[in-house]
């Protein structure tokens, strides 16, 4: 429907990773610490399986962000809330 937008839809973000694959910078801002790291593998029984590697990071500018990388396309997204 035009004019409507899914709330909390993940947004693409630019992430550079360290050798281990964890985020080193998010949108150019350095990551100070990875606070949590988890995996979601779900809906494998549907044509759109979900496989995401999540990181909750604290950035150098003092924000707490949740970003994830999709397993198939290896794209990074930022998760709101």
């Amino acid at each position: 429907m035009p004019g409507l937008r899914r709330l909390y839809a993940p947004q693409r973000v630019a992430v550079r990773t360290d050798p281990r694959g964890a985020p080193a910078t998010v949108e150019g801002v350095a990551v100070e610490a990875v606070r949590e790291e988890w995996l979601v593998e779900d809906r494998w029984w549907t044509p759109q399986p979900l496989r995401r590697h999540y990181f909750e990071v604290a950035t150098a500018d003092g924000r707490a962000l949740t970003v994830f990388r999709t397993a198939r396309a290896q794209r990074w997204y930022r998760q709101r809330a």
């Binding site: 790291e37 988890w38 995996l39 979601v40 779900d42 494998w44 029984w45």
Partner: protein, 1126 residues
């Protein structure tokens, strides 16, 4: 080095996706030195796991994840009761229950764990026996049983401590941790860290690590795997959904969330806990201490094992019996010598108490038998049970009544049964007839106490139908579709078959639906996994120590019964003394037969003293004249007997084991038959063993693998497997779903063979025989007992034909053939069978001597029992017989109605069955007239003005009724009793059938390869799993039976006919091979008599045309056997 201390197998029931065997194999392959299995609230899989681990050189650690009952605010609740209406399927509110991980350090700890688990289950069936509630133990119970156990604080989500953090109630978590610490002490309590890759892992582990510091106990890392391989993770998700009766979508919060809960390597686990190296190091330190070995330290004792007087008692008993049994026997000295030798061995092995206990049980059974059957029963000559297995070769077993065979007379050697190297208990399984069993089970409880006896558990495993239903629901597929597909899949079919059925049931379009595709994959994986626990029908274990000290005991679904947590395999591994109270149909039949012989001929037959080399019996076996004989009566056996030509009991023992999926798939059958033939023709024929090393172990089966033990023996001989390695191989083979374990053994097998100088080609060939066999065969001991029973039944069939038929008819349902076929076959051998008769029959069939005044002399007649008349009430039949015995035969139908008190429906059924034909008052004893008389005189008809009473006077002459005639009687026979003892239907139909149709008796004269056409009644259908889709049918006519081979294309063309038609006309090619005749079918048609105008002398009915349709409607369905051959 990381050691896994917390893992789940499929015995966590719907919360674990791999078998213990798979876990053990994967642990070995990943390089774990030790591994703990900690299933939810049970040790169901622990014995299997422990043995599997040992086979792979991994040290097994025993433990369980225990469910604690606690309130959200705190753990303090000491009531061990479960809430009404709760089932294990619905999980309690958060904080209601919590998990702790318990690991066994020593024997005391093991005993405490068993007691705790028993207590946790004690109230799971309080409310409704059939619906189980979740097991839970109280904290107080844990505190009382903490000794010898190491307690880990529990898993990440539901753990006693970590779970509190998840709920945000850290105070409660710390409080509970302190209480557990107090219970177990600093040495035996650890804070458990897990890393399931969930959102709060780091925060939780930080809090837990700090808590451990505050409590001054080490923390320890665990992996909590729920599958042995990542590829099994989807199934784990599906199982959780199934367990919760939800769809996969709905069960999201309860699933693992990702595939990291599959087993991974120790290195990967250490990396996962990089921040907590001490917690990783602690796994190894703890594992060092957890030295309890379930395979060796169970401490089980059977009653009598410690009795110092047992040796003397057994010796006294045996020599007493020896005098009686061998008095005046020329071989008395030999028997004496054998007895002394055996007793010495038994003394050395400390098994005297074992034999006494078995005897004790038999005596108990004898008491029960006397109560159940009355003291006069001829069956009292023998105790009502028997040992099976190699025990038949022991004179001690013979003298104590455990075996029915005189080993001296039969020249049996007991070396296999008893020798000084024996490490496990000798194999004496006791089978009891069905009627004894029900009474004996509670009697055993009484004798040995409820704490010392329990039933064996059984684990129903997933089969295609259940897999489709459960997985279909979890995947949210439409219930109508699930139902359609589930209804079409057979019990023994595999995954590929499900796909075919899916296509057939829903069409190609729907079968493409992604969720159905997923279901097919999951179904393949789920097959063979245990779904829940249940009870074994008759296996019991008895113990000197309270059973709850050696294995957890849980309530069974049947009120008042309880089971141990182990199935028969684990019980056998545990060395439990297991008595099998299974009712074996043929055992009952054989005993009934002995009793009937006593009644009909006044002979007291002792089955243990019949000759074991009776030539007439062996002739009948070689000619496949074995209908009704135990085991060797089946279609497949009958095909083989003329080719193998058994000559003695040993041959029959191999024969019984031969027609099993193991020898068939292992490729043993053809070489065995071929070599037997060559040996017959040339006694000097050299058996071509795959390798000389195999000669000693495969000699008696001519170089083929027939018995289960031979798998072990071959692996040991060819590849130098140790006995425990070989045992591990056998286990991997005998239990399903252990490809990985099998591969691991394969590797070792080839390496070992190479070290013995065996070429790789030969080693691979032998391996393929072992793999084909896969453990689906009989152990030697089992075959020995079955072979003996087969011989005994064949012997009875030859020498006491009427009594044998009679006992088979009374023991139905059993065996391969429906009663109608048994009767026809017996009639062809000249045995006379008489119809049910209200003035002659009892409720059961019996053997009678014909009355001389009827002009019939000599021989015995099998009289069909009134119980065979369908729909007649049992108590009415009993009353009718009792009244006849009290007041003499019935002189008229009215008299019968008033004296016996049978109601009209029963009288009508008896009349239809011809059971009133013999009552004198009727003019010519026709059934229609009897029906009319019954209708006029019987009580119980509710008319317009109330219920009619039975009138004790004969009604006036009935109106002229057209007699039923032969054909009408035949239809009535089938309709009312499912069989006919008069003329075979094909005999009545024959004159109206195409004269070109061959009869079964003609087949012997027809050339091999000729085209024949034949017609008859279908008596059995079979689609063995091992036959590549071929269906076999037995077609019976008035002269005999013939085996039809229906190839898959013909089956597909005539599916309905093959599956359902009772009367068939088949055209095909005749194949004759070493005495057996088959017809390979090319076309099938329903049987229709030719529409020629019948001659007036025809026995078949002329006026009533739809005769065949009528017979088709009532003819017995014939036995159908699933995909697995018998």
């Amino acid at each position: 080095m990381y050691v896994e201390l917390h893992a789940h197998s499929a015995f966590s029931f719907l919360d674990g996706a791999s078998t213990p065997m798979e876990l053990a194999a994967a642990a070995a392959a990943q390089g774990y030195p030790a591994f703990a299995l900690t299933d939810h609230d049970g040790l169901w899989g622990s014995m299997e796991f422990a043995h599997a681990c040992k086979g792979f050189g991994v040290r097994p650690i025993t433990g369980a994840e225990l469910t604690l009952r606690c309130r959200p605010a705190g753990p303090v609740s000491d009531r061990g009761l479960s809430l009404p209406g709760e089932s294990s399927r619905s999980s309690p509110p958060a904080g209601e229950t919590a998990h702790i991980t318990l690991l066994v350090e020593d024997e005391t700890g093991y005993r405490n764990l068993c007691r705790l688990l028993t207590a946790a289950h004690a109230h799971t069936r309080d409310n409704t026996p059939r619906a189980q509630t979740q097991p839970r133990a109280t904290l107080k119970q844990v505190e009382e049983h903490s000794e010898g156990l190491v307690c880990l604080s529990g898993c990440a989500r539901d753990g006693a401590v970590a779970g509190a953090f998840e709920r945000g109630d850290t105070a409660a978590g710390e409080k509970l941790a302190r209480r557990l610490l107090a219970a177990f002490g600093r040495d035996r309590f650890r804070i458990e860290l897990q890393r399931p890759y969930w959102r709060r892992d780091r925060a939780r582990n930080r809090w837990l690590a700090l808590l451990a510091e505050r409590l001054d106990v080490p923390s320890v890392a665990t992996g909590n795997p729920h599958a042995h391989d990542r590829r099994r993770s989807p199934l784990q998700d599906a199982l959780v959904a199934i367990g919760r009766c939800e769809t996969l979508e709905e069960s999201e919060p309860h699933r693992r969330g990702n595939s990291t809960s599959a087993l991974t390597s120790p290195g990967a686990m250490a990396a996962r806990f990089a921040e907590y190296p001490e917690a990783v190091a602690e796994t190894e330190r703890l594992a060092e201490r957890l030295g309890f070995d379930l395979t060796e330290q169970l401490g089980y004792r059977y009653p009598g094992s410690e009795d110092p007087g047992a040796d003397a008692e057994l010796a006294r008993l045996c020599s007493h019996r020896l005098g009686g049994r061998y008095a005046g026997n020329a071989r008395l000295l030999e028997a004496q010598w054998r007895l002394e030798e055996e007793l010495a061995t038994i003394r050395k092995l400390g098994l005297s108490g074992f034999f006494l206990l078995h005897r004790d049980l038999l005596e108990l059974a004898r008491e029960v038998a006397a109560e159940v059957r009355g003291p006069e029963s001829a069956r009292n000559v023998l105790p009502p049970g028997r040992g099976r297995g190699s025990s038949v070769s022991s004179i001690v077993c013979y003298l104590t009544g455990l075996s029915h065979v005189d080993p001296v007379e039969a020249d049996l050697f007991s070396g296999r049964f008893l020798n000084e190297e024996t490490t496990s208990m000798p194999d004496i399984d006791l089978d009891f007839p069905r009627d004894i069993r029900e009474v004996l089970i509670p009697r055993v409880h009484e004798r040995y106490g409820r704490e010392h006896s329990a039933l064996v558990a059984a684990f129903p495993t997933y089969r295609p139908k259940g897999a489709v239903r459960d997985l279909g629901k979890a995947l949210g597929l439409p219930p109508m579709e699930i139902d359609k597909v589930a209804k079409t899949v057979g019990f023994f079919e595999g995954g590929a078959e499900i796909e075919r059925n899916l296509l057939a049931a829903l069409g190609a379009e729907r079968a493409k639906e992604p969720r159905w595709r997923v279901l097919l994959n999951l179904a393949e994986e789920i097959m063979g996994l245990p779904r829940h626990s249940s009870q074994h029908p008759g296996g019991m274990v008895i113990s000197t120590r309270p059973l709850i000290d050696v294995c957890p005991v849980v309530p069974a679904a049947m009120a008042g019964r309880q089971t141990v947590q182990w199935d028969k395999d684990s019980c056998a591994d545990a060395g439990f003394l297991k008595i099998d109270l299974l009712g074996l149909g043929m055992l009952s039949a054989v005993e009934r037969c002995v009793e009937e012989i006593g009644r009909a001929r006044g002979e007291r037959l002792d089955l243990s003293r019949i000759p074991l080399d009776d030539s007439e019996t062996f002739e009948s076996i070689r000619a496949a004249d074995t209908t009704g004989v135990f085991q060797i009566e089946s279609r497949a056996q009958m095909q083989m007997l003329p080719r193998t030509q058994p000559r003695d009991l040993d041959d029959v023992i191999v024969q019984v084991a031969l027609v099993r999926p193991g020898p068939i798939q292992g490729g043993a059958i053809h070489p065995y038959i071929e070599r037997r033939k060559l040996r017959r023709e040339d006694p000097g024929y050299e058996i071509p063993y795959e390798h000389p090393l195999l000669e000693p172990v495969l000699e008696e089966t001519l170089g083929t693998i027939v018995f289960q033990e031979q798998v072990i023996e071959v692996a040991m001989a060819l590849s130098g497997f140790s006995s425990s390695e070989a045992e591990g191989l056998r286990r991997a083979m005998s239990r399903k779903r252990s490809e990985r374990a099998i591969e691991e053994h394969h590797r070792r097998f080839l390496a070992g063979a190479a070290a013995n100088g065996v070429s790789e080609e030969i080693a691979e060939r032998v391996w393929n025989q072992i793999k084909g066999f896969s453990g689906f065969g009989f152990p030697k001991a089992h075959s020995a007992a079955f072979g003996l029973l087969a011989y005994q039944s064949a012997w009875l069939r030859i020498h006491y034909g009427p009594e044998f038929l009679c006992s088979l008819l009374n023991e139905q349902p059993m065996g391969f053939y429906p009663p109608d076929s048994l009767v026809h076959e017996a009639q062809r051998r000249g045995i006379r069978v008489a119809p049910p008769d209200a003035n002659r029959s009892n409720a059961l069939c019996h053997v009678e001597t014909p009355r001389e005044e009827e002009g019939v002399r000599g021989g015995l007649v099998v009289r069909i029992g009134l119980g065979y008349v369908k729909g007649v009430k049992e108590e009415e039949v009993e009353a009718l017989v009792a009244e006849r015995e009290r007041g003499g035969p019935y002189k008229g139908i009215a008299e019968l109605a008033s004296r016996a008190g049978a109601g009209l429906p029963s009288l009508e059924r008896l009349a239809w069955a011809g059971a009133l034909d013999g009552i004198p008052a009727g003019s010519d004893g026709d059934r229609r007239e009897a029906l009319w008389r019954a209708g006029v005189t019987a009580a119980g008809r509710i008319g317009g003005d109330g219920t009619q009473l039975a009138l004790p006077m004969e009604p006036p002459r009935p109106p002229r009724l057209e007699p039923l005639g032969e054909w009408g009687k035949l239809i009535a026979d089938y309709r009312s009793t499912g069989m006919t003892v008069a003329k075979h239907p094909m005999r009545l139909l024959r004159s109206r059938l195409d004269p070109r149709l061959a009869r079964t008796s003609d087949l012997a004269k027809i050339d091999h390869g000729a085209t024949v056409e034949i017609a008859g009644m279908v008596t059995a259908r079979q689609r063995p799993e091992t036959a590549n889709g071929i269906t076999f049918m037995l077609l019976e006519d008035e002269r005999g039976s013939v085996n039809l081979v229906v190839p898959p294309p013909v089956y597909d063309r005539h599916r309905t006919l093959v599956r359902n038609a009772p009367l068939l006309r088949a055209r095909g090619r005749l194949e004759r091979r070493e005495g057996s005749i088959n017809v390979v079918v090319s076309t099938l048609a329903p049987l229709e008599p030719a529409p020629t105008a019948p001659k007036s002398s025809d026995p078949a009915p002329q006026p009533r045309e739809p005769a065949v349709a009528e017979l088709r409607a009532v003819a017995p369905a014939g036995h159908s056997f699933g995909r697995r051959g018998r």
